[in-house]
Amino acid sequence: MEDDGRMCDGALPYGERQGASGAKTPGEGVPGDGTAGRSWAGHEGPVRQGSAPLSSAHAGPGRGVSGHGPTGCGGARDVCRGRSGDAPLMQGIGEGVRRAFPIVLGYVPVGFAFGVLALKSGIPAWGALAMSLFVFAGSGQLIAVGLIGGGAPLASVVLTTFVVNLRHLLMSAALAPRLRDWGLLRQALFSAEMTDETFAVHVSTLRGEADDPSRAAVFACNVTAHAAWVGGSALGVFCSTLVADVRPLGLDYALAAMFIALLLPQCRSRAHLFAALVAGACSVGFALSGAGRWNVMLATVCAATLVSLLPVGKTSTTREEMGTPGGEGGAHAD
C-alpha cells in the first residue's frame, strides 16, 4: 500500500499536495507552538487546503498514518483503481467507522439509559428499539419517554419531540452547501441520520467532496453511530432489571466531553469564538428564564445573528472564502 500511495502521489499534482500537507499531522503542529491563534491556524491548515476527499484532521485515532494513505489514493483513484480495485471505497468506510468512535463511546451509555427508562415507563421492548431505530434522537427520545411515563397525551409527546429536535433545522441548513452535489436520495438518507453528534463530526471533516470514498466515509460514520445508539438501547432494554449505575465510570460525561472536542475546532477565528461564548451564555440564560427546550435554538439564532451583523469577523471570513481551493465562493458555509 505504501508503494501504491507513493505512485499515486507522484502521478497527480493533487496527490502530491495531499502528501505534502499530510506529512505534518495536525496534532503534531500544536504542542509548544506559541500562541493560540498561530497554532490553531496550523491545526486548520491541512483541512483548509484539503478539499481532500478524506480529510481526517479532527477525526481522532489514526489521523496521522491513515489520513495520508487513503487521501492520496482517494484523490487519484483513477490511477489507483487499476491496481487496488475497491480499496479506496473500503478505506473510506474504515475512515468513517473511525470517525464514529467518539460518538459510539457517548451513544452506548446514553442509549443504555434510554432503554432502561423506556421499559420503566411502560413502553415495551420492541417499542423502545423501534423508537431508537426510526426516531434516532438522543435527548428527544429521553424526554419523550419521561412524558409517556408521566402519562402525558401522545399529541404533546409528539409536539415536544418536534420542539426539542427543531434545532436540526439549523444544522441541516449549515451542511446543505457541502452536500449540494450528492443528489436528493443521498441527501435524504444522510438527513435521516443527522444528529447533534454526527453533524458535529461532519462539519469538521466534510468540505463539499462528492466522490464515492468520501461519501462512503460519511455514511459509514452515520451507520456506525446509529448502530451504537440502537445497540446501546438494546443493552438497556435487556439489562433494565439490573439497573446498573453508569456514574462511577464517568460515562455520563461522554456527551459533554464530545461536545467540547467538537466545539474547539469550530472556534477557529475570534468571531467564531465570540459566537460560541454568546451562544453558551444565551443558552444558559434562556434555560434559567423558563424557555424550556427552546433554549438551544433561541441561543443559536441570537448568537449567529449578532456575530454575523458585527463587522469584526467580516474581513477574515472573506479571506477564508477566497483562500478556499475549489473557489465556490459563498457556497461554503464557513
Binding site: 438527513s191 458535529a200 472536542a261 460560541a276 458555509a333
Partner: protein
C-alpha cells in the same frame, strides 16, 4: 398503559417531526447558490449550536446555575479542553473527560 396502536402512532409521529427539520433545509438549500449573508450567518451556526448544547450541561444543575468547586462537570471541562487542544484527537478527549469525572468521584468523592 399504552396500547400497541398508540405506541406505533407515537413513534411514527415522533419520527416524522424529527425527520422533517433534518431533511427539508438540505433538500431546499442544497440545489441553489446561497445568499452570501445567509452563508455567513450559517457559518456561525456550528460553533453556536455546539456551545448552546454544552454550556447548560456544564453550568446548570437541577435547573439552577451551579458554579462552584464541587461542580465536577465544570472542573472536568478544563483537562478535557487541554487534551483536545494539545492532541487534536476527539477520542482521547472523550476518554480524558470520562476518566477525570470517574477519578473525581472515586478519589475526591464529588457528586
Amino acid at each position: 398503559m399504552l396500547t400497541d396502536e398508540q405506541i406505533i402512532l407515537c413513534i411514527a409521529g415522533m419520527a416524522t417531526v424529527t425527520y422533517l427539520p433534518r431533511v427539508l433545509p438540505m433538500a431546499l438549500l442544497a440545489s441553489r447558490p446561497l445568499n452570501p449573508a445567509l452563508a455567513r450567518w450559517l457559518g456561525f451556526v456550528p460553533a453556536s449550536v455546539l456551545a448552546a448544547l454544552l454550556a447548560p450541561d456544564l453550568l446548570l444543575r437541577d435547573g439552577a446555575l451551579h458554579v462552584a468547586a464541587d461542580n465536577l462537570y465544570l472542573l472536568a471541562a478544563v483537562p478535557t479542553l487541554l487534551v483536545m487542544r494539545f492532541t487534536g484527537s476527539s477520542f482521547r478527549t472523550v476518554a480524558a473527560g470520562m476518566a477525570t469525572v470517574a477519578a473525581g468521584r472515586l478519589v475526591f468523592g464529588l457528586p
